[in-house]
Point group: D2
Chain length 301, copies 4
Amino acid sequence: MKLEGFKGIIAATITPNGSSDEVVGAYLDFLYKAGVRGIFILGTMGEGAKLSPSTREKVAGRVVEAAGTRFLKIAHVGCSDLESSARLARHAQEIGADAVSAVAPFFYRYDAESLANFYSALCTSTGLPVLVYNNPGRQGYSIGLGDLARVFELVPALRGIKDSSGDPDLMLELKCMFGSSHFVACGGDHLLYYAFSIGVGAHVSAMAAIYPELAVGIMNAVERGDFAEALRLQQAVNRARRTLRAVGPDTASYRFALSLRGVDLGPPIAPTRRLRQEEMEQLSRALGPINKLAEDAVKRA
Amino acid sequence: MKLEGFKGIIAATITPNGSSDEVVGAYLDFLYKAGVRGIFILGTMGEGAKLSPSTREKVAGRVVEAAGTRFLKIAHVGCSDLESSARLARHAQEIGADAVSAVAPFFYRYDAESLANFYSALCTSTGLPVLVYNNPGRQGYSIGLGDLARVFELVPALRGIKDSSGDPDLMLELKCMFGSSHFVACGGDHLLYYAFSIGVGAHVSAMAAIYPELAVGIMNAVERGDFAEALRLQQAVNRARRTLRAVGPDTASYRFALSLRGVDLGPPIAPTRRLRQEEMEQLSRALGPINKLAEDAVKRA
Amino acid sequence: MKLEGFKGIIAATITPNGSSDEVVGAYLDFLYKAGVRGIFILGTMGEGAKLSPSTREKVAGRVVEAAGTRFLKIAHVGCSDLESSARLARHAQEIGADAVSAVAPFFYRYDAESLANFYSALCTSTGLPVLVYNNPGRQGYSIGLGDLARVFELVPALRGIKDSSGDPDLMLELKCMFGSSHFVACGGDHLLYYAFSIGVGAHVSAMAAIYPELAVGIMNAVERGDFAEALRLQQAVNRARRTLRAVGPDTASYRFALSLRGVDLGPPIAPTRRLRQEEMEQLSRALGPINKLAEDAVKRA
Amino acid sequence: MKLEGFKGIIAATITPNGSSDEVVGAYLDFLYKAGVRGIFILGTMGEGAKLSPSTREKVAGRVVEAAGTRFLKIAHVGCSDLESSARLARHAQEIGADAVSAVAPFFYRYDAESLANFYSALCTSTGLPVLVYNNPGRQGYSIGLGDLARVFELVPALRGIKDSSGDPDLMLELKCMFGSSHFVACGGDHLLYYAFSIGVGAHVSAMAAIYPELAVGIMNAVERGDFAEALRLQQAVNRARRTLRAVGPDTASYRFALSLRGVDLGPPIAPTRRLRQEEMEQLSRALGPINKLAEDAVKRA
């Protein structure tokens, strides 16, 4: 699927960890049936940075193949080192991904000129569209609007951005400044309603990897002008998000929540510990109403 | 050289980037002559996290070989993913390093049990002693005393820790709790005087990679009870550190400062930009007195 | 004016500092004509915490008197100490304010139970409605949804909240949990569009103290469903906000921006320094287009 | 007692809250007998910022009178507003304090020039020596070495500084730059050993308000060159500090710890809640060994 003109929910998919092809296929079917039309592979909730480059290649290849042509397939290739990111970007093209995205390089902090070096090298390494992925909490530093604009100016080959800063002001500016020339996606689940309502048409959503009905439901409700419904679902998303962040390591709790939907993609990727029994029970209780809401949304649709 | 019983300055060496073997050898000679007896390879100021695992292997092999037996050689193997860290730890043994150290896994946050999983797997992957490297500013989260103690309890194979938290309280506790059973090194240049004065015998120092005379001078001055001299040199270290952090990307400014000492190990590793002309001039001016102090220290010794 | 049922823009007014009654009156006329119907006196941008309790009483009395009955008048009474806050809350009633609000007590951090003690004592000290004011950046600590809910539970006399956390998720939850029983106002200028669009009917806005036309314009545009216009104005607000925070101390730059609208309320309250000549020139240039936009909005209305 | 030439432990005293004169006198005797020779009244652990200016005046007057001439008496006069700070500084002179100190004004952030305005006005308001009090965690912003040097340059009437930044580098620089011309005191309990060992002769210590024997013991041990003893006591101080910060609101836990020493100065100042029963029990258990250490230190001295 082409990046250009894409609108819709892009699930930041949970990564299979020892799962069979059947389960992976069933997971993608589950997402598709709920209205998801894009996948962001090996991103933050996809635990990409916990896998070695060669393992990432294998996993990405497998997911891209299972996804087929019905999804926009964005491979996350961000690493702390440029060489591995470039290798993954090259590989993403070979396996048939539609685009790549890389979080700003982490561990060190980089200024606009250094970031431009990074993204410029990525653009050279692959024929696929390259998207910036701005996630201050993970990369360890903020990149302001001025610096982002400078990066886009220095690297005309860049094709867009996924912004997970959580800053509504930055989202609006990115949409206004780059929305007509670049692919602009929002990346914060608590901003699903906001981003769609200001006209950001694509959303990379970790919650959509578990509750695709809710994310898709918000998008559709905004589109048809039913804000009350959009907010009702947004509130459910916020509650799920707060719960999942409060109990256990989040990469473990997100996986567990998905298993409550009937899709078991395996334990968290090492070295993250598994959830304890009481954490699983606490999550089961707290997420019960969200599960029900998601399933009702299916029935109503 | 054996980790056990090692005392002294361990330079967190700058990483050769396109330099000849002659230059690498001359760099290690420079450090040795100034009294450095250990090297920490590909650590934070060594830009390890900017290199792919395979490039790290090559560079580590080259530096370990050039260093020979006159240094304690610790290879930094920390990555965002356990698999690559374990691979580098295994490789470090093959090339003849004396120990490995890994910063707490970054990008995600890990609790004590997950950290224990990480370090336990590292210990299994290599026959070399494994050291925790705690650097909250880089790994992105703090690990308190209680969590560190828990990790050591869960992973008896761990042999020690390099603490770069900059917390004098934590340093003292680590020394008291683990100093007799484990290798405990301090990792903050502004704490050289403090750490030696409380009896922490080993110090991993980025400043020693540029001004080894100052770091060694502080150690020696504390040992002979000349606190005034130790503080005079500590103050010079602090000033150099503040200057190097204030002008340009620090991985670029540290390299440049080393070139002012006559050792050019090449430009910063991509994607970090090179220093601008005015930054180089500013650093040259500001570091002039520190250079002179370091060279005088050589003459006096 | 009554707090109950109030909807609209509440300007977080700039505080007169040596200005004549004429100027104060003209300022309030300016706000009223632009559609502002509430004022938040001596809040954060009103520099209340820079004045002694007795001076705050005098200034509040003067502004409340000048405002008359055409505005909802909320006096900000937050201090680092409860005794002074309670005194100001009592005094606010004497001078005829309509409500009081107090930022969570600052300098120290307080848990939910201690916060409940604070707000409970305020409610006892005055017959006016008391509103929590949550501003993590100023009070120095975050208060999560759970803690806020606990405070409201422990202090039934509390009448509402002004939330300046900037967290869209928290805003939505406060509206859903307390919107029908309490007065809920949003307090972040970058969230004007968002808050009105999710149905939060009152907004305390620092930008409305300078560009009331923009804040009111956003509210009206959302109400009539003209989201494009709302976002156009929101973007202007965001740009003004970014500019005002980037040049000089913000309490000085906000005053200066107001003087560019023709209302000079005097220099910043001590000890904040005045703007330098070049800062004033930079602001004049950068704010020119915003001024024009605000004045055009007047003409069109 | 004169500020000039003062060396020793200055206890950041707990503030009497409803206590009789007898108890206040007994508290000061307790401190004096343990070797404390200075008191810092109504500072951070003294809960000054929780009291109104007029209450602060009363309390300060009472403590200064009870202290008599055997202590150096520094009144903390920092407020969020300059007017109240100046009033308290004036009053401190009337009641016979020896010096005043003010934390950098809080709630807002101030640059060097604005801070100079603040301290200059304080110097004008009183005939007593005025000391800067730098506490980034409380005032809400850091003041770097360059800014502090600028403030001292702009306000020659300033007589010194109490630095509670916890930054060993800054402490060393302040001592070297201002130690011969100004009064320089350290303010972090975890830096007692460090500060004395680098020659900072005065220490404002919250722990000395509860365990004066430990703080005085560290000072004496450093002076006679018994570093092992100094570190043993420093470790006890660190453990007490960690415990007191971990259980309950710290202003409540410090008071409770003092009551375990036999001095009950009343409940925490409102609105801070009282400790719960289980918190008191937890503290009693955890502090038992520290109490014993302090009492043994008395016997041995």
